[in-house]
Structure formats: C-alpha cells, structure tokens
C-alpha cells in the first residue's frame, strides 16, 4: 500500500461529513448528456425516511454492481448534496422507537421502523396488484418494520 493510499484513507476518516448507509434500490440512470451517465440509488441512512436519488460517484464501476442491501459510504459535498463514494463496513441496522409519557413514566409499545429492501417473493408477486403479471419478476420491495411501503421495479 502506497503512502498516497494512507493519506487518502486518513482524509476520509477525518472528514466529518460522511455517513454509512444501506442501498435500497438498484442503481438507476439519473441523468445523462449522451456521453457520461449518472446513476442514483435510494439509501437508508438510519432515519425514518431514506435519502432519495443519491448519485453514485463517477468512475466507480464496482458501485454499479452494488446489490440492494449493500453497505455504502456517503460523502457530503460543499453544496450539501450526498453522493455514494464507496462501500462501507457499517450500515444502518434496526430502528426501534418507544413512546414515553413524561408525566406518568409509562412506556408505550415499541414499534419497529427498520427500513429494508429485498426482491419480492413469488407469493408476493402473485398477490400484489391483483395477481401475476402486474409486478415484474425481480421487483424490489421496500419495507418498514416488515410492512411493504413501495415497490421499485
């Protein structure tokens, strides 16, 4: 490993404006001028809602193969826009919320708000939208706490 690599890694670790995320959708073409293409994905960053249409850094072909569920690193630009810059060793996991009454100290039931994405099963393809044919094979379902929220074909 060269010295340059060490410096680059040190800079990445020192940068505060970085996030770990989990890919929820397959890379889709966001914009093109006919020569260069910009792909984007939806990314779970451990909040209630995912980040939509996060561009994938250019010249990183590996990321274009990133499957749904892959852990990725997001970097924020000066203008405040996030971009997927590479793979990560960490990703958002479960997200559990507990309501608390501050007057009576009584806790409500914990709710699971974990975002996850996976290809829909044959059973799901057969039931969603009124039967086979409505939803294509390989469609990705985005779930919150195990409940289907949206489908990305």
């Amino acid at each position: 490993m060269s010295i340059l690599t060490y410096i680059t890694q040190a800079e990445i670790r020192a940068a505060a404006e970085e996030l770990d995320g989990k890919i929820l959708t397959r890379p889709a073409l966001l914009v093109t001028d006919g020569l260069s293409m910009l792909y984007a994905v939806d990314v779970d960053i451990g909040q209630e809602s995912p980040l939509r249409n996060v561009p994938i850094a250019r010249a990183n072909r590996d990321l274009l193969y990133a499957e749904v569920g892959a852990a990725v690193r997001l970097r924020r630009s000066e203008s405040g826009r996030y971009e997927v810059s590479g793979f990560s060793q960490e990703a958002p996991g479960t997200f559990i919320r507990i309501p608390v009454s501050l007057t009576t100290f009584v806790l409500g039931p914990a709710s699971d708000e974990t975002l996850s994405a996976r290809p829909l099963t044959y059973v799901e393809l057969g039931t969603i939208g009124g039967g086979y044919g409505v939803c294509p094979y390989g469609a990705i379902g985005i779930f919150k706490g195990g409940i289907l929220q949206e489908i990305r074909a």
Binding site: G69, E90, A91, G93, F95, P99
Partner: protein, 484 residues
C-alpha cells in the same frame, strides 16, 4: 448517599475546622494516614463548599507569611465535628490584599477530578477482547490516573464488551469513564473523601433520603420547556450481517497448457487485495486451452476458501508419453540402414518413412499446446456491522417541537439494554431542564446523584449542593437539582 453521617436534627450545631496539608498525598487523605495537618480555622473569614469546589477567605497578621502560606497544588481539608467533610486540591490564591496590620487572600479549591490529568489529557486505552467486564476497563482507566483500590468505590457490573478489540481512543479519562458506564445508567463522580464512584442516573428509583417539613426552609423552582423530545441511541450490533452483491466477474486469468507440464495450478483471489469474500463461484471459459488440434487437458476449478479459488489444468498423460516416445523413435530409427539401389533409380528408404512418422507425432503434440482465457464469476459478499438505532420519544410532544439528541455508544450489549438506556436518558435530560433549589437543614449525607423526597411527595434529583460554613452562618444546605 454518604453513609458516614447520621441524619441531623433541626438544632444541629456544627463545628467546622479547616486544615492545610503541605505534603499529604490524595491516597493518604482517602486512607486517613496523613500526618502533616496545619490548622487554618482561626484565619478563615469566609468559607463555602459545594460538591466539587470550596472557597475560603483567610485573614491574618503575620502568621501565614512566607513558608506558612498555603500554596497551589497542596491539599485543603474541611472537617465537621472532627470528621472529614470534604477535601480538595488548592487551585489558586487570589484577591491578595495587604493593608495595615492585616493580610487577606482567597483560596479556591477544587476536587481532584478537576485537574488536567482527569479532564483534558487525551488517552488511548488498551485493546480489550470480547467479554471483558466493563468494571475491569473502568478500573484500568482509574489506575492510569494513579488511583489505587482504596481510592475507587467501584462495584462489579454484569456489562461486558461485545465487540472484539474494543479500544477507547482520543478521549479524556473522564470521558472514557462516562462513555463506559452510561449504558448501565451511571455517571462518574468523586465523592467528598476523594474516591471515584458512580452515581445512578435512574430518576424513577426510590428516594435515598426522605425529609420532613421541618427539615427544609424554602423551595424555589422553575419549569422550562424540555430542550429535547427524543433520545436516539446508536449502537453497534455485535452480530455481523451478511451483505451480498450482484453476481459478477471476480478475476480473469490466462494459462497455457501442453506437454511440458502435467498439472498447472493457478490460485485466484477474488480481489486485488485478496480480502474479498465470494460464494457460488464458477469458471467461465472464454477461450479453451483445448481449442487447437487435439484435446490435451482437463480444465477444472474449485473454490478453496472464502477469498480464493484454484484453476487446475491437467494435461492428459498420453501427451508427454507420446512426445517422449516420438523423440525416442526419431533417434532409434535414425540407425536403420538404408539399401542402395544400383544403377541409380528413385527410392524411398524404409527408415526415412518410419522417422517421419515419429517426427509427425512430436509435431502434433507441440502443435496442441493451447492457451486458455478463464474468468471466475461469483457473488461477492461481506460481513458488516449494523449500527442499530433505538429511540425513546415524548409521546405528547407536538411535531413542530421535535428536537432529537443522538448518543453513539458501542458498549450497549443488546436491544433490551438499548431501550432501557434510551428511556432513562430521555427522562433524565427532559427533567433536568426544570431546576429546583431547596434550602434544607444541613445534611452531610447528601451527595450528587441522590434523590431526596419532600413531605409533599416532591422528589429532587441532586445535581449539586452548596453550604456556607462561615463562622456564625446558619447550618443550611442549598440543594440544586431537578424534579425526579
């Protein structure tokens, strides 16, 4: 609660003495083995003390001139009715005044944890393996501050590290102690006699001290909008999650096979650095080594480990056998004598034909040398850490007031502990916003972190206290805290 003291009655009379220790060490103070006490009581004009600080104004004629004067860094002790009430380290002497016949100065004393060594010096802890009890790490950090067992009041906890190679880095000792013990609901404090101990942050527990109405003289309170509506705990899941990518080409290789080697093994890593894991790997032959005249080898592939596989080209046994036999035949047939025809006529000598056949065999084998282009395809995967989020939120807070505070802590062991941690911190930090001050009959039992209950059922979590120990002052204790 400081168990060395008994409850005080309303007509409690306290006798306060002040001592200066020029050479005593903190350990000698804790173990009460110091022998250098210099009494300053008769020079003390004003004296007040809180849980972490004391201020004394001294006046004298000539007695504290020169070497007799207290110096910063030495120990200053307050005793009440002969028993140690509090001690600290002199931080500074200020307001030095010199007037005719009298000199005065103010001494500021702080508890031992206020020093740079505890609060500012950044450290790196050792590496701890999975399953290391947290109280062991706490003790190690305390020992790195120079504390001995006598100076620690640390119990055993059931908490332990859940990650391999846990290390605390670039934190002060105080921050390390706080981070380590926050998930179990405790905070570090240094008590009145200089021992490191941990106080509970649970505000729903039973009160430590119950006061009757005659014990307190005034209660002042305020209520403020809580500065937060939710606490979000981010913790690293000890269980690794498997994440797969799409099936893709992992490596490519070009191998030449022929008579020259029976078996060729080529190790293939699934990435340049040899660390990429993959499964369902298989061989894709872009160009076979058998694509010339004759099939000369068997092309196989097997995955050896999670990160590498092996392509094996096994040349058929007849290939080297044939070329060896051919070369032998060429040599041996060279000795077959040819017959000479007289007179001269055209002839094909018998030996030349046999030699040509042997030569053809050799050429055939050599022409069968093939170069194959191979690709290894598979599904790369890796094990990653999931950073889980557990949030406790105020169920009655309107959405527009939302203010979430995030706490990141990797000493959380599981979801159950994370939920208890989040709820406890939410209650603590929300209630902390409403400050209460209660003036009570002095009670040396009270410490930071205690819960005192008033007669009307109101409960106060003690954040700090202050007492005026000036000669002739009322024996009152002003307790600051919040409604628990």
């Amino acid at each position: 609660m400081d168990w060395r003291w008994s409850p005080c009655s309303i007509d409690y009379q306290r006798v306060t003495t002040v001592w200066y220790h020029p050479t005593a060490t903190p350990l000698e103070m804790v173990s009460n083995t110091h022998s250098d006490s210099v009494e300053l009581t008769e020079y003390v004009n004003r004296l007040s003390q809180s849980s972490s600080e004391a201020q004394a104004t001294l006046t004298w004629h000539k007695e504290l001139d020169g070497a007799n004067q207290p110096v910063p860094g030495c120990i200053f002790e307050i005793r009440e009715n002969g028993l140690m009430l509090w001690w600290g380290i002199i931080e500074g002497l200020s307001d030095y005044q010199l007037s005719s016949g009298q000199r005065a100065l103010t001494i500021t004393v702080r508890s031992r944890d206020a020093s740079t060594l505890w609060r500012d010096t950044r450290r790196v802890s050792e590496l701890y393996p999975v399953g290391t009890p947290l109280h062991i790490i706490t003790r190690d950090i305390a020992e790195s501050l120079g504390l001995t067992s006598a100076e620690m009041f640390i119990g055993e906890t059931s908490g332990s590290t859940v990650h391999s190679n846990t290390q605390l880095a670039d934190l002060t000792a105080w921050e390390m102690l706080s981070v380590l013990n926050l998930p179990s609901g405790t905070s570090p404090v240094v008590d009145a006699i200089g021992r490191l101990k941990f106080i509970s942050r649970d505000i729903s527990r039973r009160a430590d001290i119950v006061l009757t109405k005659s014990n307190y003289s005034s209660v002042r309170g305020s209520k403020a909008r809580p500065p937060l509506t939710a606490i979000r705990i981010k913790w690293l899941d000890p269980n690794l999650s498997k994440v797969s990518q799409q099936d893709q080409q992992l490596a490519a290789e070009t191998i030449t096979a022929g008579y020259f080697q029976i078996r060729q093994r080529k190790r293939i890593h699934f990435s340049q650095d040899g660390r990429q894991r993959a499964e369902n790997t298989h061989l894709v032959i872009r160009q076979s080594a058998n694509s010339s005249f004759v099939r000369v080898c068997e092309e196989t592939y097997q995955q050896l480990t999670q990160t590498e596989g092996e392509i094996v080209l096994e040349t058929s046994f007849w290939v080297p056998t044939l070329i060896t036999a051919g070369m032998g035949a060429m040599l041996s047939t060279a000795f077959i004598p040819d017959a000479v025809a007289v007179p001269p006529v055209e002839t094909i000598p018998t030996g030349r034909v046999i030699q040509a056949v042997a030569g053809l065999e050799v050429l055939l084998v050599m022409a069968s040398i093939g170069t194959g282009m191979y690709e290894i395809w598979g599904t790369p995967y890796d094990f990653i850490h999931a950073r889980n989020t557990t949030e406790a939120y105020d169920d009655s807070a309107p959405e527009w007031t939302e203010k979430i505070i995030e706490i990141e802590n990797d000493f959380v062991m599981d979801e159950t502990q994370a939920q208890a941690f989040a709820v406890r911190e939410l209650l603590y930090q929300v209630r902390e916003a409403s400050v209460f001050t209660v003036s009570i009959v002095d009670d040396p039992r009270i410490e930071k972190g205690d819960i005192i209950e008033l007669e009307d059922g109101e409960r106060i979590y003690v954040l700090d206290y202050r007492r005026d120990l000036t000669s002739g002052a009322e024996a009152l204790l002003e307790v600051q805290g919040f409604r628990a």
